[in-house]
Point group: C2
Chain length 189, copies 2
DNA sequence: TGCTTCATGTAACAAGTTACATGATTAC
DNA sequence: GTAATCATGTAACTTGTTACATGAAGCA
């Protein structure tokens, strides 16, 4: 149940309408928790119903009219509670790792091409993060909230770096393999 | 749509019943794609319906009786197609990164404790992977399918290592912060 | 007989995805 | 006025989660 908390965080950073939130979920917060506009409108409705946020008085409630939301005290409290909650790390669930495992039984086929494509995409994403790092966090700013936001960004950068290194290793392995299916034997990891 | 392919891979490695698959999804393949037994039974039904797998003739179709499945040629073909398919890397979606971001607006609260707990869990998981690496992949084995399976395992190990390093950085940042809210503006309830 | 474990399933729900509908505003 | 865009929303579906149901086999 992270989406409502992602929305609360975004709204605390800046009160917004559904569409503005959608746009921010395409950059910024969305780099770590993506969401479509349908999800966001649905969740805004629930959060309002639950009394955690409210529409700004200035906003008309008509269809097609912009409607801005702000976080109520109950919303801040819920978010603070959630931040310190005990949650187990989520298990890894990655289709690409799974595809490598599948390639071990049916052969790598066109995997090498796909790995090179991913490598490029991750390079591009790392560059995006580095640009944000340079622009939003000049060395002299050291307020606590900036250090935390930078920490999140560093997490994203380190994850992209992980993928780059692993994809290079993967290309070495797949690169000198026969694209046909390998043998039938199989150790159970 | 990765679960059916995870099941096809597991069944190609070794024909199994639903419960056996469930157990293997708790170790082995499940380290990279987890699934509950309800998901597995549902998906086995669909795969059988679609003609990608079939129940072994020896297996009784009675309730409460073990029913083993094997992959049909159509299933292997579908898996091979999927391995080479073009799929964009999945976006990062991690609740812990999100919680750090939230902490930047409502304060870190009890986060440090939670970070230390995660650090320990990731250390433990890395040790599990290292044990598998030593046991299943002695240095002399170099068949293609072993190299691929080892590559997947190395991905898991590198991911755990990423988390360990990042959590250490996070603890440094959070460690010397006031647990109260840092923010530029924030009326408490 | 009653308890536990093995084994397969049903039901209900929550979260996420995809496609489409509709009103309001702005630019030409 | 009409086309594009802004903005909010509905509907239908898929995937994943949680709780519970049911039958078979072993054993004390």
């Amino acid at each position: 149940m992270s989406l409502p908390h992602a929305i609360l965080t975004a709204l605390l950073e800046k009160p917004s309408s559904g569409l503005e939130l959608t746009r921010r979920f395409d950059r910024s917060i969305g780099y770590f928790w993506s969401a479509t506009h349908q999800q966001i409108y649905r969740e805004l409705g629930r959060l309002e119903e639950a009394g955690l946020i409210r529409a700004l008085p200035s906003a008309q409630p008509a269809r097609g009219q912009k409607k801005e939301f702000e976080v109520l005290p109950a919303g801040s409290a819920e978010l603070a509670r959630w931040v310190g909650e005990s949650q187990d790390p989520k298990a890894v669930r990655d289709p690409l790792l799974l595809r490598i495992r599948a390639a071990a039984v049916v052969g790598p086929g066109g995997l090498a091409l796909e790995l090179r494509r991913h490598l490029e995409l991750h390079q591009r994403q790392l560059a995006v993060y580095e640009a944000i790092d340079a622009k939003d966090f000049p060395p002299e700013r050291t307020a606590d909230e900036d250090r935390l936001r930078r920490l999140v960004l560093h997490g994203g950068m380190a994850l992209e770096t992980f993928w780059l290194r692993w994809l290079e290793e993967a290309l070495e392995v797949v690169g000198d393999m026969d694209p046909e299916r390998p043998g039938p034997s199989a150790p159970e990891a």
